[in-house]
């Protein structure tokens, strides 16, 4: 019934707009302007500045020796194996953590969706990792993995009590990703839970009646209908993971080749005062985030209208 009425209501709204379009447009511009200007001021402006600085050989230790070098900072960065190693690290962290978060987060979402008792308790506790400062999470996991003060070695079978997780690359990466996954899986599961709530029970029951097994219902009914929720969650989380910095800083400080691209950029600028090459890295980081976003949107056909909350 309400569907037949909807067009009427829509027209009504357009009609209102047409009369007051001008006034509304100008009011809207006034309301929107401060936020937009501010956002661009704090992002676009520094970014342009970075673009400019990246063309110079500029070190804060010797600011007077600043000289224009064209694109040579980019050439330096792109031909340095460090850049590629760190990019590979970052991509690996992104892929592994997002996959784990997706699987675990979905399992959590299923449990939260079905659980009939103590919903409040579950939903509150799931927010705790989310609310905890990343730095604290990094510390907690670093100490947990530590061979002198941690508990993980004694809890895990096949691992000697004095095994040093932070002595070599693979185990360090595992520790970093554990912290990252622990902290952000709840966010993922909440997004997926909201998506799950959008799948109508009727449809699932219809599939049951049609003879679909639990597994078939999951893959043929539930997941396809959650597609846009999953894709938006993946996009958000992947870009977030690509910017990983806090955990690495706290847990390994980049030791044993565990640097991420964000960490490399930070180190060039803040620790070594190499503003020229650091700015080039900033620009490259920005471009690579854009590229990752583009690839995810294109590859998984993420519905950006859904991400923009139109619908």
């Amino acid at each position: 019934m309400s569907t037949t009425i909807a067009p009427d209501a829509d027209r009504t709204r357009t009609a209102t707009a047409s009369d007051r379009t001008r006034a509304e447009n100008s009011l809207a511009r006034k309301l929107v302007a401060p936020a937009i200007v501010l956002m661009l001021l704090v992002t676009a402006f520094p970014m342009l500045r970075a673009l400019y600085l990246s063309l110079f050989n500029y070190s804060l230790t010797a600011p007077d020796d600043r000289e224009f070098v064209g694109l040579s900072n980019y050439v330096t960065a792109l031909t340095d194996s460090l850049f590629w190693r760190d990019t590979a690290n970052t991509v690996m962290i992104m892929v592994v953590t997002v996959v784990f978060e997706l699987v675990i987060g979905f399992a959590f979402a299923m449990v939260m969706h079905r659980v009939i008792f103590a919903r409040g308790v579950v939903r509150t506790s799931i927010l705790i990792p989310y609310g905890i400062i990343t730095v604290v999470s990094g510390f907690a996991w670093q100490f947990a993995f530590s061979n002198s003060n941690g508990f993980i070695n004694s809890w895990l079978p096949f691992i000697g009590d004095d095994f040093n997780w932070f002595a070599e690359y693979p185990s360090s990466m595992i520790a970093i990703m554990a912290s990252e996954i622990w902290k952000t899986t709840p966010f993922m599961s909440l997004l997926l839970l909201a998506g799950l709530a959008q799948v109508s029970e009727d449809m699932i029951e219809a599939a049951k009646v049609d003879g679909a097994s639990w597994w078939q219902r999951l893959w043929k009914v539930i997941l396809p209908n959650m597609r846009s929720a999953i894709m938006v969650a993946v996009l958000f989380r992947a870009l977030d993971a690509y910017r990983i910095f806090d955990n690495i800083f706290v847990m390994t400080a980049g030791a044993n080749g565990t640097e991420s691209i964000s960490f490399l950029t930070y180190r060039q600028v803040i620790e070594q005062f190499q503003l020229g090459i650091g700015s080039a890295l900033s620009v490259l980081l920005f471009l690579s985030v854009l590229l990752v976003a583009y690839l995810i949107v294109k590859l998984f056909r993420v519905d950006l209208a859904a991400a923009r909350q139109e619908g």
Binding site: A35, I36, G195, A253
Partner: protein, 280 residues
């Protein structure tokens, strides 16, 4: 039999989630009660070893530490101001997005979306340079401004989703009922919008409180250094032999306010987190 299995599965899943969420938290709390000597000599295991407990000593030490207190103050002040500013501007924007028809609505939402995904580390270099020139390096202002780069999109995002749910025709109903435009706004729209604004403020505060990149890059002394950065510099010379239990106590103190907020406003936060991301 099947129902029993189902139920058992649910209980197991329930326990798993609780374990996942709470174990590391319990761990850090437990660690904060280990004594400094025990940590230096090595005290593996989840709970403080016998004789290796410190009681409340770590907490007393942390709370008496001036740098730590100063960092907490910085974090509260900076996060609060950033939250108020961004929620105010975002409220205007979200109102326009949800309520008004105007050209460029898509542009606003897309800009917020793109900026929300911006790699903040990219900003560190130019800001580091500019802030030193402008003299706001290592000040509250020097952190509040860059915080806008992620708090504003987040607030716009959450608020637009909330405002979209407000039954705006209520305003019209109120006018038919004899209200002036101001009365309709004050008595109908404000009560309906307030929970959304409040939730957006909590989420924004979370994000500001959690910031680390700007906190370590744009400060050099305790005069503006926020708590996450302060914790990370709470190291001593050797990064692999940190005063772990003291740090843990500091971490617990820094986390308590957030956990309390989470506990109290659980429902609203869940709504706020998911509102923007899922069609509804």
């Amino acid at each position: 039999m099947k129902a029993w299995l189902n139920r058992a599965g649910m209980v197991a899943g329930f326990a798993l989630i609780l374990g996942w969420c709470l174990l590391p938290v319990a761990w850090i709390v437990s660690m904060s009660f280990k004594s400094q000597e025990a940590v230096t000599n090595g005290s593996p295991g989840f709970f403080p070893s016998e004789g290796g407990g410190a009681g409340w000593q770590n907490y007393i030490d942390v709370l008496q530490d001036d740098q730590f207190a100063r960092a907490i103050l910085n974090s509260i002040g900076i996060s609060l101001i950033a939250t108020i500013l961004s929620v105010t501007f975002a409220t205007f924007t979200a109102y326009a997005v949800a309520r008004l028809e105007f050209k460029g609505k898509k542009f606003v939402l897309t800009t917020a979306l793109v900026i929300a995904m911006f790699p903040v580390v990219s900003l560190v270099g130019p800001l580091f340079d500019m802030w030193r020139t402008l003299g706001i390096y290592d000040t509250w202002l020097g952190l509040i401004i860059p915080y806008m780069s992620f708090t504003l999109p987040l607030a716009i995002w959450t608020l637009s989703a909330f405002f979209r749910e407000i039954p705006w025709e209520m305003e019209q109903a109120a006018q038919v009922d004899g209200a002036t435009a101001w009365q309709a706004f004050r008595r109908v729209i404000v009560p309906l919008a307030a929970p959304g604004v409040f939730t957006a403020a909590i989420l924004t505060f979370f994000f500001a409180w959690n910031d680390f990149v700007f906190g370590i890059s744009l400060t050099s002394t305790e005069s503006a250094r926020p708590i996450p950065a302060a914790l990370s510099f709470f190291v001593g010379a050797d990064p692999f032999n940190r005063p772990a239990s003291l740090l843990a106590a500091g971490a617990v103190v820094a986390t308590v306010p957030i956990v309390v907020l989470v506990l109290v406003f659980q429902r609203k936060i869940v709504a706020g987190l998911t509102a923007g991301a899922v069609k509804g």
